[in-house]
Symmetry: C2
Subunit: 425 residues, 2 copies
Amino acid sequence: METVKLGILGMGTVATGLINIIELNNSKIIETINKNLAVSKVLVKSLNKKREVSLPQNVYTTDAYEVINDKDTQIIVELIGGINHAYEYIKAALNNKKHVVTANKALIATHGGELEDLAAANGVKLMYEASVAGGIPILNTISESLAANEFEKIIGIINGTTNYILTQMAESGLEYDQAVKEAQRLGFAEADPSSDVEGDDAAYKIAILSNIAFGQRIEIKNVPKEGITKISKEDITYARELGYNIKLLASAVKNDGELELSVHPAFIPAEHPLSTVKNEFNAVFLKGNAVGELMFYGKGAGSLPTGSAVLGDVMSIVKNSQRDNTEIKKNDRYKIADKAFKPYYIRLEVIDKPGVLAKIAGVFGVHGISLASVMQRQKNGNNTAPLVFITHKAYRKSIDEALNEISRFEEVTKVCSIITVENFK
Amino acid sequence: METVKLGILGMGTVATGLINIIELNNSKIIETINKNLAVSKVLVKSLNKKREVSLPQNVYTTDAYEVINDKDTQIIVELIGGINHAYEYIKAALNNKKHVVTANKALIATHGGELEDLAAANGVKLMYEASVAGGIPILNTISESLAANEFEKIIGIINGTTNYILTQMAESGLEYDQAVKEAQRLGFAEADPSSDVEGDDAAYKIAILSNIAFGQRIEIKNVPKEGITKISKEDITYARELGYNIKLLASAVKNDGELELSVHPAFIPAEHPLSTVKNEFNAVFLKGNAVGELMFYGKGAGSLPTGSAVLGDVMSIVKNSQRDNTEIKKNDRYKIADKAFKPYYIRLEVIDKPGVLAKIAGVFGVHGISLASVMQRQKNGNNTAPLVFITHKAYRKSIDEALNEISRFEEVTKVCSIITVENFK
């Protein structure tokens, strides 16, 4: 039986998962691809570290080009992460006419188009299912099984760190800072969590999803993003009372021939399937013009789930190695827009005296913003009281203008929160 | 540009959806497969009926073999349903070396193995994504993107009719009979709903899913099934009070090297993602040994969703026509078992007098069944009262033995319900 050889760049958690699955599910793999898979070379930082996998010592090297140039290796799996080195290594591998599988979202979101062109020019495949939503097979499903659809929207909970933090704030009543510490303790957040909590990670992923679903190359700087650092326990409590959960959404929505991209926290109705996506789980909700609404739910990270996605790509390359290499042409068919028209949740802190509500409501009215609900609560200790609004659909610009005016009233001590409401209508 | 010709057998709702999508998304299709798709021949019952699609009149024929034998047609799409005719037509098409796409679950569950062998022998493809869960791309995803996994369990809500009926009973407080009538009025249930409400439809689908996920050919008679005809409004009310929803599940679970197959109503915890699957929506929840838990949610039926799945298969055949035709070998690797060990919900009607509960609980104890919760409620009008138990895990055989004994007590006027509790642990 023929053996297909893999070279692996990097030996972190995903590579460990990949190698363990190849060993664990060896008979299933052979039945599926009718060939053996073997790891020929692995790039490591140090040759002396103890590993959680059982590969012979002579596969390890500290020289990337020993992996990339190995003449018996047909597929290079890039798992070092980051942009610069990975970019050079993948280019070299593709130019060596080796197929490449990567889990590197930052690289694909930044240089994906160029690398796909290079792969096509060399008659090899570049696959990156694991770069978005870990184990959830979303990219290949969009481009294969759902190929008959024009897509209308994609809305994802695609950052497990922030979803873990928001779930803990909601269910254990933790404040934001406490929840971040808990996530760090459990390995769901990094020592510097900024790429997750500021929305950068989700922005990379929605750019890749948009590329696959809309055939549109997205520049990452065109994705407006707002993270979860300003979400307070109070907002989460009000959300639940009003029948919502707060989630960090990454969305790409087609509207009048334009594409609205965004990463932002949002109120989601408690009965919507996305509301049940808790802790480190991810989900991608999409709407196609034929298939209607679909949701894919699963683990967005982790050694084995991400290894499963990488190995799925590897096996697909082995099975389809004779396949037509034509790719969907990517172009600029959609203008990237930023004019979402949505309901908003707004929380103010006001001095509790007669007439305040009427005065504030009046300003919303002047700006054409109508109110769907108002909650006025008991005073805080300092003679102030929280005042919570959910508006009907409005442009963010109008909301900001109204709040700018409202914030100048002497009775308004603070504009605490402005959060989109996603009601899927 | 090359044109690929499709012959379609049958002109019902799915065929209408398919033809409309081909027209609607023509430019997307061409970009993806780099070829034109055209409908060459369509088998209809009557040539004179008015159609909701705009095909030239000369494509229609009442002779199936005019479609199957058309020499320019490369792909036959079978959408007539039922077993006998479809079986003969598909065999003839495969022997003519034409690829076949079908949405026919009864046929694939019954003759799928033989037809796949015939396709392989003729060097053509047989695809049937649309046969399970309509628009949800579950079969191809299991066999392609998730190919690296050994699967541990598959639990699906894969019959939209019964899910609609159960949702309406829960949310609109309808009795079973009323909900069936409402489903019929809206086209979600047929005039004779027995194939759906008795669980046959779900049994076909779980057999096909098991075939794909476990590489195991299942004889449909080996799938134990229980429908929803005995579910009452009372059970649904108790379920909700106890924090559950009742759903008709089709499940295939690997346990100690054996495969437990079943179609049965079950209590699902309200916070589980499957609980948010309402009305005509379907979902498939699965667990792979690498990817962990995944759920796929979407429309399980309908003209456009099912058409989307059929067209996805057609496009896959066109894109991968050179691809290796090796299929996973199916065998009898698992013994089909029927010894599920689960919690149960039990509702009795008893005469309300002292000592009844103790007497009944005593019988459960003798049969090794321990109780997780008991609810005793106010009397009905006739001096009887409902008594509701949730047990800890038990074998169904023990439950039946205990209830057999309990039903003989003079204080027990009725054993109303026995329903599995699926707590995903």
